[in-house]
């Protein structure tokens, strides 16, 4: 590093010295280094030839050099005035620099480009003069007039609360609800927005909080969590607008959106149980209805069946009756064990206990 050629070696005096200020200074003037072989730095004084060589000049060196009469020449006249390097034709850069600074100053402070969504407020010595719509605009230069540009049409969003934390609010029936919401607003009157309120953004937030809590306090928990949401949103919006208009804040509330309304975490289980209970009740009812359908359908079926048979029976009562009797007996007796006995002798010969119970013949007689 230190043995390398100085960057100023071939550059002559044209390059501003300060543009290389940072790094070489880090080497430090006292740091010993091998003597340079290449062309010497023209900014260094001649007597510095024996002193330890450095890669570049630092500011002290430049001033010292000037005192010593070396370097760019003309040294020693202005004792402390820093000088710019000269142009190739030997004239100073200073007029060019001054002209450039003035041009930049006028350019930036007189010409303003206002984007389509923006507006600008022109103040003359601090007093409001006019509002700039979008496009190019020319004003007087800076100390006289200044322009402050703000985005007016795009909607700003304030999410309340900012974090993910629980935000409990008291409802009218003294329950708590965890509610987060979003306020959308923009600037409707830029000069009012700029000059009326000390902290317009914070004011919007605070007004939103006050309005939301007041609106929530007017409804019940169930309304807040369910059907009343839209009404609340509208309510808060109107309230906020009213207050902000009363402040003449120049702020227009575009809308309030409730993002979520939940029961507090601590009671969320109880709320879930209510939902479960609704389901339970519904399933009870469904089961009962299914059962009822079955029952009435069966009754209908049986009644109709009876009606059909009865219709035929009426046409020929005696025959139908006998036919049915025999058919049934057939089915019954064909599947059972049958014993035919003379009743008077048999009684004592029946040891089987189940035989005693089989007085089944009696219904058959009853069918007579």
């Amino acid at each position: 590093m230190t043995g390398k050629k100085s960057p100023w070696g071939s550059g002559g005096g044209d390059t501003p010295p300060k543009s290389d200020g940072g790094k070489p200074q880090g080497d430090g003037p006292t740091e010993p280094a091998p003597p340079a072989e290449g062309p010497r730095n023209p900014w260094l004084p001649p007597q510095a030839a024996d002193a330890p060589q450095k890669r570049g000049p630092n500011i002290e060196d430049i001033f010292r050099a000037r005192k010593g009469g070396g370097g760019g020449g003309g040294g020693g006249k202005g004792p402390t005035m820093p000088r710019l390097p000269q142009r190739p034709d030997g004239k100073s850069w200073a007029p060019v620099g001054i002209a450039l600074v003035i041009a930049i100053w006028l350019g930036t402070s007189m010409v303003h480009r206002i984007a389509p969504q923006e507006k600008g407020v022109v103040t003359t010595f601090g007093a409001y003069s006019r509002t700039l719509d979008n496009g190019m605009a020319v004003t007087l230069p800076w100390p006289i007039q200044s322009v402050s540009v703000q985005d007016v049409t795009s909607i700003r969003r304030e999410s309340i609360p900012e974090g993910d934390g629980e935000k409990l609010m008291l409802t009218g029936d003294q329950n708590l609800v965890d509610l987060t919401y979003l306020v959308r607003w923009n600037i409707k009157d830029l000069k009012q927005y700029m000059f009326q309120l000390a902290e317009p953004d914070q004011t919007v937030r605070e007004v939103a909080e006050a309005a939301m809590r007041q609106s929530i306090a007017e409804v019940t928990l169930n309304d807040a969590m369910g059907s009343g949401r839209q009404q609340i949103e509208q309510n808060v919006r109107d309230r906020m607008q009213k207050v902000l208009d009363a402040y003449r804040s120049g702020v227009s509330i575009q809308g309030v959106d409730i993002k979520k309304t939940d029961p507090p975490t601590k009671v969320v289980d109880a709320f879930k149980d209510v939902l479960a209970a609704q389901q339970d009740a519904q399933s009870d009812i469904n089961q009962a209805q299914a059962w009822a359908q079955q029952l009435t359908a069966r009754a209908g079926g049986e009644a109709t069946a009876f009606d059909k048979v009865y219709e035929q029976y009426k046409l020929a009562p005696e025959v139908t009756r006998r036919r049915m009797y025999y058919e049934t007996m057939e089915r019954v007796l064909s599947k059972t064990d049958k014993v035919i006995l003379e009743t008077n002798n048999v009684q004592s010969y029946l040891p089987l206990p189940e035989m005693k119970r089989t007085q089944v013949t009696k219904p058959a007689e009853g069918g007579n």
Partner: protein, 283 residues
């Protein structure tokens, strides 16, 4: 030769004159913008007010801009002209029915008499500092007169208006006007009030759940009973046409169901006198 050095050498007198004139002008002039009103104080005495707030004057016509002053003799004291924020510390308020509520409120105020403000408080921060305890106590007093329930609802607006009026009276002393007082938050304090609210909510829900379940059961029972009644009516309507035949018809079905089931091991002992065997005997 350097341009600047030349300039300096040739125009020394002119440059010095211009510089001195600029400095002199700067000390005679002060920019008062739309956001501020200024009190010009001459030798410690408020002399005049620039850009004083008047509600009906549009921006641009308020007198903002350059203000002339006599150097050294007059000082320009700047006072904020905008609506300022007076934020109350969060504090507990006891309602008339002895329930605690944690209240966060804010007030908005504006300096409408800057001379008085400069004389009494000096800076707007000081005004806010002075008004804060007044707001706190006004709030506590006013809310303490009301019940917890009414604080939550419509009454709140009236309470706020009263607090605003009371605070405004005090604020006028400092040249300030209270524009608005609002409760930002009203919460139950941590600890037992909050816990008991949670418990109340939970039990209310439990009750709701139990009621819902019972209602469901009740409805189900009614549905079942109605169905039974309907079925009974259907049966009765049909069978009542001929009860004797129904008895026979149903008996036949019953025998079928009882005896002719698959795998039934019924033994039947028939007497030869049985009706079924009447033909069997060949009579």
């Amino acid at each position: 030769m350097s341009f600047l050095q030349n300039l300096w050498a040739e125009q020394k007198a002119a440059i010095v004159t211009v510089a001195v004139a600029l400095v002199a002008a700067a000390s005679c002039v002060k920019v008062v913008d739309e956001k501020t009103q200024a009190v010009v104080v001459r030798l410690g005495q408020p002399e005049r007010v620039v850009n004083r707030f008047r509600p009906d004057v549009e921006f641009g016509q308020t007198g903002a801009g350059l203000v002339w002053r006599i150097p050294f003799m007059e000082q320009v004291v700047e006072v904020d002209r905008r609506i300022l924020d007076l934020d109350m510390e969060r504090q507990q308020v006891l309602s008339a029915d002895q329930r605690r509520l944690e209240v966060d409120a804010f007030a908005r105020f504006r300096i409408i008499d800057p001379v008085r403000m400069v004389q009494t408080a000096g800076t707007t921060e000081r005004v806010a500092e002075q008004l804060q305890p007044i707001l706190n106590s006004a709030l506590r007093q006013e809310l303490g007169k009301r019940t917890f329930g009414s604080l939550l609802t419509a009454d709140r607006g009236r309470a706020m208006e009263q607090i605003r009026a009371g605070l405004d009276r005090e604020a006028r002393e400092y040249g300030a006007q209270i524009i608005d007082v609002r409760i930002k938050r009203a919460d139950l304090p941590e600890g037992s009030p909050l816990e008991s609210a949670f418990t109340r909510m939970a039990t209310a829900r439990q009750q709701e759940a139990a009621t819902l379940r019972a209602q469901g059961q009740k409805t189900a029972q009614i549905i079942r009973a109605t169905a039974e009644a309907t079925a009974a009516k259907t049966y009765a309507d049909a069978f009542n046409k001929d009860p004797a035949f129904y008895d026979f018809y149903r008996a036949m079905q019953s025998y079928d169901a009882t005896f002719s089931q698959k795998g039934s091991s019924t033994s039947i002992v028939l007497s030869p006198d049985n009706e079924y065997l009447r033909q069997f005997k060949g009579k």
